[in-house]
């Protein structure tokens, strides 16, 4: 009897500290006040009041699992890994004592055969080291970004300059174009005038229709030659001399008309050249403008890519990506396939510049058109 009493006493003396550690197992600091030793415990969803001895007693009483934060008894419970020295976190209670170390402090395997060493300090150190490295890398990256923005700014400036130049060229060409149009009209008018002079009865619509800008009829009086000569006198000696050449004097090849005609011809040719030049400059301008209208990021940090292409070889294929332009694939036989033209950014909303989309590529056999996603 005496001995028995002593044992009970010893148990009573020892039990509080035992209970203390058991009861709070698996509970975070912020929730700990809810698990303070009382007479009873209210399930956190309020569904039930249970005697406090049933907290962490390895039997699930609360439907929300709140009575067993430190055991695997509840299917929906969670266990708090304190992980001193590292980041604390929750694990599903099914991972408590399952023979696999989940918490870095090993606290989840308190009663399993698995010996889990405390790795938190090591992990914490490692994480801090990595964080430092990351910070370094970020700084490096920011520096690089700054450089690239600067580089991009240069490219941007260059492109702007180019645009200005092109626009100036276009303006010049426009003036020239108008000038040439005038000249052409003038030459045509003169020729018409001459034709009327040589052949006052311009009945033959047919002939004019047949060979516009050329002398359609013969039998023109020589008198008219003088007037042509006169009118052209100011224009240049070479022409004048030509006009004087009477090598061909058949009525159909009236030299004066012919001269007028060739003046028209050259005016047309000149005009065409200038028109072409103007068109191509305009095209370049709009291309450049389109390019400059692209989204290059808030600080135009992607402008530098404009002037670069990258290549990558995957087994037998070589891929060439020219940012903001196109993606192509070339196989070892040299066959090139266009995989897509620049379409736009396609990253997720939080980092839209993660991904580029190139579409409208060459169509697959019996399939859709090829397209490419490029991920950064």
């Amino acid at each position: 009897m005496e001995l028995h009493f002593q044992l009970v006493l010893a148990f009573l003396l020892l039990s509080p500290c035992f209970i203390q550690t058991r009861r709070i197992r698996g509970v975070s600091m912020s929730y700990r006040r809810l698990y303070r030793e009382r007479k009873s415990f209210l399930c956190m969803d309020g569904s039930r009041l249970i005697p406090f001895v049933q907290v962490n007693d390895d039997y699930c009483d609360c439907t929300d699992g709140s009575d067993e934060p430190g055991t695997a008894a509840c299917p929906n419970g969670r266990f708090y890994c304190m992980n001193l020295g590292f980041r604390p976190h929750y694990i599903p209670s099914s991972r408590v004592n399952d023979g696999i170390c989940d918490c870095c402090d090993g606290s989840d395997e308190f009663s399993s055969r698995m010996q889990c060493p405390d790795k938190c300090r090591m992990l914490g150190q490692k994480e801090r080291r990595e964080l430092e490295e990351t910070m370094k890398a970020v700084n490096k990256g920011l520096l690089l970004k700054k450089q690239l923005i600067e580089e991009g700014a240069l490219v941007w400036q260059e492109k702007q300059e180019q645009l200005k130049q092109l626009q100036k060229m276009a303006e010049d060409l426009k003036i020239k174009l108008e000038d040439h149009r005038r000249r052409k009209l003038k030459a045509e008018a003169e020729k018409e005038h001459l034709q009327k002079a040589v052949m006052p009865d311009p009945n033959s619509v047919e002939g004019q229709g047949e060979r516009p800008g050329q002398a359609p009829h013969g039998g023109r009086p020589r008198v008219d030659q003088g007037s042509v000569f006169h009118s052209r006198e100011k224009e240049g000696k070479a022409e004048i001399q030509e006009q004087h050449d009477p090598a061909n004097t058949s009525p159909h090849e009236n030299p004066v008309i012919r001269e007028a005609q060739s003046a028209v011809d050259s005016a047309v040719a000149e005009l065409q050249k200038v028109e072409e030049a103007h068109d191509s400059v305009q095209m370049e301008i709009s291309e450049l403008q389109e390019k400059l209208e692209n989204d290059y990021g808030p600080e135009r940090e992607f402008v530098f890519l404009l002037s670069r292409c990258v290549q990558m070889t995957v087994s037998e294929y070589m891929y060439t990506l020219c940012p903001f332009s196109q993606v192509t694939q070339k196989n070892s036989a040299g066959l090139e396939v266009m995989l897509g033209k620049w379409s736009g950014w396609l990253g997720p909303p939080d980092s839209p510049y993660r991904q580029m989309k190139y579409d409208e590529g060459e169509a697959c056999w019996q399939g859709p058109k090829r397209s490419t996603l490029s991920q950064g």
Binding site: Y59, D61, A72, S94, G99, I100
Partner: protein
């Protein structure tokens, strides 16, 4: 390229690498041209295209030319022999009759003096079946009567014409040759092939059938000349079978009076109840790699078990036709085609003849060796069949858990990511599988050096999660002189030979391949030794094996398999074709046992199988498709396998070919969670479909299905222990437990697991409800999710949502669960049990609990297990030791007891070790569920809980 073409390229023609061979390219092209979504039937023979089947099937019922020579009768204790003579050609046969222990009769018929021995199937029977004494009751000129000992059962041998009848009292249970279709093509010498002689030969080709045939041919005006080619050579498509032994087929008919329902003879993608084959094709048994198989037809598939069960309300019987050659089974019935009205009319008019099913077996070679299992109960037939071919191997517990497979997990990182995916989404998983791409160029026992450079590191990572892996090892061996396995097999002369004596070579995944002769025991021993840890580099104890393509599949062979005139030692491939797959799995399982020094249980999955394959591991239903009908057919396909001993069966969850809709995938997980072998698998060309890729809602539903499986693992494990001990199927048709309830005879959209769980999975697209048949007049069933009680013998409509899996527990049963579901089954090893006691209307219940270490043979060799009987009678729940000599201890305890259908007690006490303690309890009056809180006894202990 469209998916069908890709699939075709990927699997059948497998591969344009074949281009190198012009002939094969032709094959590819022809296959491509014939590309339809379903199977290309033209690749496989009909009965008419298989010469022996055509010859035999031309034979119609009539007077048999066989006569028993009663004066040749010899009777020893257990064996009776008698000669039969074919009156048409005077060839003598030898009939042997045995009475085997357990109410089995064996009938063997062989040639009395064959020109050379005929093949008798080895390695399938567990040994020489123990016999019992036969005695002759009477004998006269017409025949003799033998006593079968049991229940007034007699075997009557009629002499002229020869026939056998098994009688019980006045009733005929089964007759042999009653329709005169016994036909035994005797071995003969080849004669000159002049036209007239050939004609004469033809007249003799089916022994005993000449007269009838002649008559019929005259009547039908069918010529008997060139039609009967194929005796000494036969060509199918571009393949010629040289048939050096000429015609060798055998056939016998069985009549089953009073029987309208026959089952079994897997593997076919067909209903559980076998159909009559009149006017159609017979059921075919010939192990074949059938690309994109079609449903609801009798075509042969990957495996063959020549066992048929016949059932009526009075009796269940079985016929085991032990022959490993190509086999066809015809079924006809005198009631088939009759409408219900017609049957009623017969009944009213009293003119009804007894319903009868007639069955005819035809095999290409070998002998007639039939085991007639006389039941009478379904469980007796299972016991009888198990006594012949053995029982289901007892798988490691983890083998019953969830398996994640795909063709292919790309590399080690992929495997790691999938493993982590299961943890992230809190879905349990025990196995991750690797298909053929893990190897170095399809050289089995090797690893791709780029994708799997550190297999042990990978396996260790998986082991740290207490999970396991399976790697595929197929039986075709790449012919490559730089490949160790090939060199050894070639040097040891272990390859199957072609008809000219050289090593047989065919095309399979690696290109040109040799096929080891697994019928050679030395070859099997060598193969087994290749699984030793020091032989199979990169393997570890948590790596298990999958044998695919073991029909064997030969891409450029006839019917995608091996030439029948290929040679295995003394025998032709023709003789043992259906046995090849069994041998592959046998040798592989043996290898796994040996590598652990004989202590660890193996886990080997096979696609091809034969009678007896249940002893070596798991079987799956091959390359199915992501279609609702394929989900539905998984039930009858596995039920049919269970009936013939192969309990560890499953279908690819999600479907192998094509991509399942989310709804189909979810429903398939829910169904698979309640089928024995639970593995998700997918074709290379399909999008990824790990269970968390379909949105959080579907992930949650799949998680719940898998968790239900894990919670029930104790019950599954106990069922497989029973299957291993007794041969009873785990997944059962309803009629097995309710043999007198005719409603159950055709049900194959629901099933039982053991006796106590009834599952009616949702297998219809867009289903809002299912109608389940709850059997058992006067019984009750409890919905396992709501504990709602329903009466038996009714069709119950159950409304369903996407998360519903209709499952019922039988009133009168006790089912143990582990409700603390964890990452893998191994993690749950020491977890406590919850007992679900479902009371019958008589307020009784019984169940069992089996526990062992989950993976070794110690349960067998050292009796290290706990096997308890749990009974609830007179308000007392008691746990008793079923095997006092067993010894095993576990930390597991009983955390909770739920008693369904209970009334409220005033007090609950636990009696254990002579002490009585009070238990806390709760009572839910609305559902009549009594919950005992934390009784706490160890599962190995004796105890009684008393409700007062």
């Amino acid at each position: 390229m469209n998916a069908r073409l890709q699939d075709l390229l990927a699997k059948t023609t497998s591969h344009f690498h074949l281009n190198e061979m012009g002939l094969l390219f032709g094959l590819c092209v022809s296959l491509l041209l014939g590309a339809a979504w379903a199977v290309d039937r033209g690749n496989f023979k009909t009965c008419n295209q298989s010469a022996f089947c055509k010859r035999q099937r031309a034979l119609k019922p009539g007077q048999s030319p066989y006569r028993a020579l009663l004066d040749t009768l010899e009777l020893s204790d257990s064996r009776l022999t008698l000669q039969l003579i074919n009156d048409n050609n005077k060839v003598h046969l030898l009939l042997e009759l045995y009475r085997l222990q357990g109410n089995i009769t064996r009938v063997k018929i062989n040639e009395l003096k064959p020109l050379k021995p005929r093949f008798e199937v080895p390695d399938v029977l567990m040994g020489d079946p123990p016999t019992e004494a036969l005695s002759v009751l009477s004998k006269d000129d017409n025949g003799l009567v033998l006593s079968l000992g049991v229940e007034n059962q007699r075997l009557i041998v009629s002499a002229r014409p020869f026939r056998l009848d098994i009688m019980e009292g006045p009733e005929v249970l089964l007759s042999l040759n009653s329709r005169g279709l016994l036909a035994f093509e005797h071995l003969r010498l080849r004669k000159d092939t002049q036209a007239d002689q050939e004609g004469a030969e033809v007249k003799e080709n089916i022994d005993g059938a000449e007269q009838q045939q002649d008559e019929e041919e005259k009547a039908e005006g069918v010529g008997n000349d060139k039609e009967e080619d194929g005796l000494w050579e036969e060509t199918f498509k571009t393949h010629t079978d040289s048939k050096p032994n000429g015609p060798t087929s055998v056939s016998l008919d069985f009549s089953l009076p009073g029987v309208e329902h026959v089952y079994g003879i897997p593997e076919h993608a067909d209903s559980l109840k076998l159909k009559t084959t009149d006017g159609g094709e017979p059921y075919r048994l010939y192990n074949l790699d059938v690309f994109q198989y079609e449903l609801y037809n009798p075509m042969a598939l990957y495996g063959a078990v020549p066992v048929m069960l016949a059932h009526n309300t009075q009796r269940t019987m079985g016929i085991f036709w032990l022959n490993a050659a190509e086999t066809w089974v015809d079924i006809s019935s005198n009631t088939a085609g009759k409408t219900v009205f017609g049957k009623m009319l017969d009944f009213v008019q009293g003119s009804s003849e007894t319903p009868q099913t007639d069955v005819r077996w035809i095999s290409e070679s070998g002998i007639i060796d039939v085991f007639i299992m006389l039941g009478p109960k379904p469980s007796d037939v299972f016991t009888q069949y198990a006594s012949l071919t053995g029982t289901q191997s007892f798988p490691p517990l983890s083998g019953l858990a969830y398996h994640q497979c795909r063709w292919n997990y790309n590399d080690q990182d992929d495997v790691k990511a999938v493993d982590q995916g299961f943890d992230q989404h809190d879905i349990p998983c025990d196995f991750i599988w690797l298909d053929i791409e893990h190897t170095d160029g399809k050289r089995y026992f090797t690893w791709d050096p780029h994708k799997f450079p550190q297999p042990k590191e990978m396996l260790q990572g998986i082991k740290d999660k207490r999970r396991k892996m399976v790697a595929i090892v197929d039986p075709h061996i790449k012919v490559d002189s730089a490949y160790k396995i090939h060199n050894e097999i070639r040097d040891r002369n272990f390859y199957v030979k072609n008809k000219d004596g050289g090593d047989y070579e065919g095309w399979c995944w690696p290109g040109n391949s040799g096929y080891p002769d697994f019928s050679n025991p030395e070859m099997r021993a060598w193969w087994a030794s290749m699984f030793a840890y020091d032989q199979y580099e990169g393997s570890m104890e948590n790596l298990y094996t999958w044998n695919d393509m073991n029909e064997p599949s030969v891409f450029n062979g006839p019917e995608v398999t091996m030439y029948k005139d290929a040679v295995h030692g003394n025998w032709e491939h023709r003789d043992l074709h259906n046995l090849y797959g069994l041998y592959v799995q046998m040798a592989t399982a043996e290898g796994q046992i040996q590598r652990s020094g004989g202590t660890e249980r193996p886990f080997v999955l096979t696609r091809a199988f034969f009678a007896g394959s249940q002893r070596y591991g798991a079987v799956w239903t091959g390359d199915n498709a992501a279609e609702w009908d394929h989900l539905k057919i998984s039930i009858p396909m596995c039920l049919s396998l269970g009936l013939v001993g192969i309990s560890l069966c499953g279908a690819d969850v999600g479907g192998f070919f094509k991509s399942p809709s989310t709804e189909l995938l979810v429903r398939w997980y829910q169904t698979g969670a309640y089928q024995p072998f639970f593995r998700a698998h997918a074709h290379l060309d399909t999008p990824r479909r790990e269970p968390w890729l379909f949105g959080p809602e579907n992930t949650a539903i799949i998680r719940e299905a898998v968790r239900q499986r894990y919670a029930l693992l104790p019950y599954w494990y106990q069922q497989f222990y029973q299957a291993h001990k007794t041969g009873q199927p785990v997944m059962r048709p309803l009629w097995v437990e309710y043999p007198k309830d005719t409603t159950t005879f055709t049900i194959d959209d629901e099933f039982l697991i053991g006796r106590d769980l009834l599952i009616h999975p949702v297998t219809e697209e867009g289903a809002r409800g299912v109608t389940a048949y709850l059997p058992g007049l006067g019984e009750v069933w409890y919905d396992v999710h709501t504990f709602q009680k329903h009466n038996g013998a009714q069709n119950l409509y159950i409304p369903v949502t996407m998360s519903s899996i209709p499952v019922f527990q039988r009133g009168g049963s006790i089912i143990p669960r582990k409700v603390r579901v964890r990452r893998s089954s191994e993690c749950m090893e020491n977890d406590p049990y919850t007992l679900f006691v479902a009371l019958s209307p008589q307020r009784v219940a019984e169940g069992e609990l089996y526990v062992d270490d989950g993976h070794t043979f110690n349960f067998q060799t050292k009796k290290e297990f706990i096997h308890r009987s749990l009974t609830f009678v007179n308000n007392m729940l008691t746990s008793r030791n079923l095997c006092p000599e067993s010894n095993f201890s576990t930390e597991s305890w009983i955390e909770k007891v739920l008693i369904l259908g209970a009334s409220k007690p005033s007090r609950v006490t636990l009696q254990m070790d002579g002490k009585e303690t009070s238990l806390e309890f709760e009572f839910d009056a609305s559902m009549s569920v009594l919950t005992l809180r934390k009784p706490g006894m160890n599962v190995g202990a004796d105890w009684t809980v008393v409700l007062q």
